[in-house]
Symmetry: C2
Subunit: 309 residues, 2 copies
């Protein structure tokens, strides 16, 4: 899967993923209206609206991009119906040959971590049959519990040729409360980054490891350091666009081969039609606005990478 992600990035010149993090407030009125007319103002109605919204955005952008990153929390808040929309979205992205990064930020220990890994990346055995539950290609994982939380994921990843991105330095303002604290003169996120490199060495693809890291676009200096700490790990970079990150800030997240990072934008793309810059498309053509925003994001990052050469 990491090989597929790398080769798709090379083909599209787009080291990005579209964050499919739908909020009801982003969804155009005409979609909500139709979904509520068909299913009522219910969890089912909301899930239908989310699904139709996602589908239109995927249809309008899939040929430009290598990957998507659905944020499961945005579906989980609608309970079972929301999670059905999550699963439908994952399956549809696979139909479009997109790499799906499940932003699930799970993390537990032993058999529990193994259960999460099975549910999101692996196969479950029931009697004489096996099934995939959510079947993403990558999952994001929280490192706070240490190796006991990570190893079960790596075991499943080895079996399925899938991968994980481990939270190292997150994009939010308070991420420093614990992540930046100094331990023997180095911040915690560097120690976590070092572990990512170690864990990653166990499960290598052609040029990169199946074990990647999450480092926020909002902390470019730290990205520069972490790039060197984890030379073989892909970095998933949230915080572009709406959270403040720009292409020029991101060049040091990449290696010299132009690979090694995949930059996520969520609101900036899926709710592009709400921004002044794309308002001309109107709510009816929200998916075209998303396509334009993807094109601009690719140009911004590709331009910054070329300028840095």
């Amino acid at each position: 899967m990491i090989n597929k992600l790398a080769s798709k990035i090379q083909k599209t010149h787009a080291p990005i993923c579209v964050g499919l993090d739908p909020m009801l407030s982003y969804i155009p009125e005409h979609i909500l209206k139709k979904a509520y007319a068909d299913f009522g103002e219910t969890l089912e109605g909301a899930a239908e609206a989310i699904w139709q919204y996602n589908k239109a955005i995927i249809d309008a952008t899939y040929d430009l991009i290598p990957s998507v990153k659905p944020q499961i929390a945005m579906y989980e808040q609608f309970g079972i119906e929301g999670l059905k929309a999550f699963k439908k979205t994952v399956d549809y992205c696979h139909e479009k040959d997109l790499v799906v990064i499940g932003d699930v930020k799970r993390g537990d220990i032993g058999s529990t971590s193994a259960a999460y890994a099975t549910g999101h990346l692996g196969k479950i055995t029931i009697g004489s049959k096996t099934y995939s539950a959510f079947d993403e290609d990558f999952a994001t994982v929280n490192p706070y519990l240490g190796t006991d939380g990570i190893k079960p994921f790596i075991d499943v990843c080895k079996e399925e040729k899938k991968g994980i991105f481990i939270l190292v330095k997150t994009s939010n303002p308070s991420s420093g409360e614990f992540q930046d604290r100094l331990i023997d003169g180095r911040p915690l996120y560097e120690w976590v980054g070092e572990k990512v490199a170690q864990w990653g060495a166990e499960h290598m693809g052609d040029s990169y490891s199946y074990v990647g890291a999450v480092v926020g676009a909002t902390y470019p200096e730290m990205g520069k350091v972490l790039r060197k700490v984890m030379p073989k790990s892909f970095i998933l970079v949230p915080g572009y666009g709406a959270q403040g990150g720009k292409g020029a800030d991101l060049v040091h997240f990449f290696n010299e081969d132009g690979l090694g990072a995949v930059v996520n934008s969520s609101r900036g793309i899926i709710a592009a039609y709400k921004q002044e810059q794309y308002a001309k498309f109107g709510a009816e053509n929200f998916a075209d606005a998303s396509r334009a925003a993807v094109e601009d994001m690719i140009a911004d990052i590709d331009g910054a990478l070329k300028a840095a050469k």
Copy 2:
């Protein structure tokens, strides 16, 4: 909810929760057989088996205990069908007036953390209607992302009078890799514990905060320190029984009022019939074995607390 948990513990003399973490390998043959006969060897069949297994254990123990802790990973691995069994279990425990601690270990930032909080503890608004998705009473939360990850949970908890338990020192062998590292002379888990106390001060019940902590039974010395760092926080204590913790190790997790901790046992109770000590019940009477194991656990902890006075 924290008041309810405290008063139920006082009434039952049982500062414990039963970990409803079903694995197919725990479930007696006769339940599996019936579920597979009705629904096939499918995700639905597995979910039905889990639900019947849980229901029998709840029926056999609910009058002895204040709370349960379903581990969502064990349901999530069966996808949508598994999560339906999770929701059914939560609802049934509420019918039996049990406090439900959703062991979900979620943690993200801003609107994403808010979405998790909404899904597990709060209400979601759809048009003019509101719904509860999973509706647990407490959720476990990962602190790695800092205040941005915790505050949205506390906001929802205030509205709903619900609570959270934040991972501080987990019960697993490798928990020390990051949690024990020294920062200005004190381990990370103490810094997290201090934050728990600060966050908790914002949302107090009668005697205890709605913001609790997770500290593993396997680290009694650290529990003793953390008890003092977070005097007003309930400590959720995993790792009793199967993971090695014993009643006598746990007395320092409690305050002098006999409150302040709730000790979890999962496998030791739900799969009691597989242990030599309870083998006499046989697989057919697995739920009676669970009841006996609950009685023994209460006697062990209550005895240890009395001996320590």
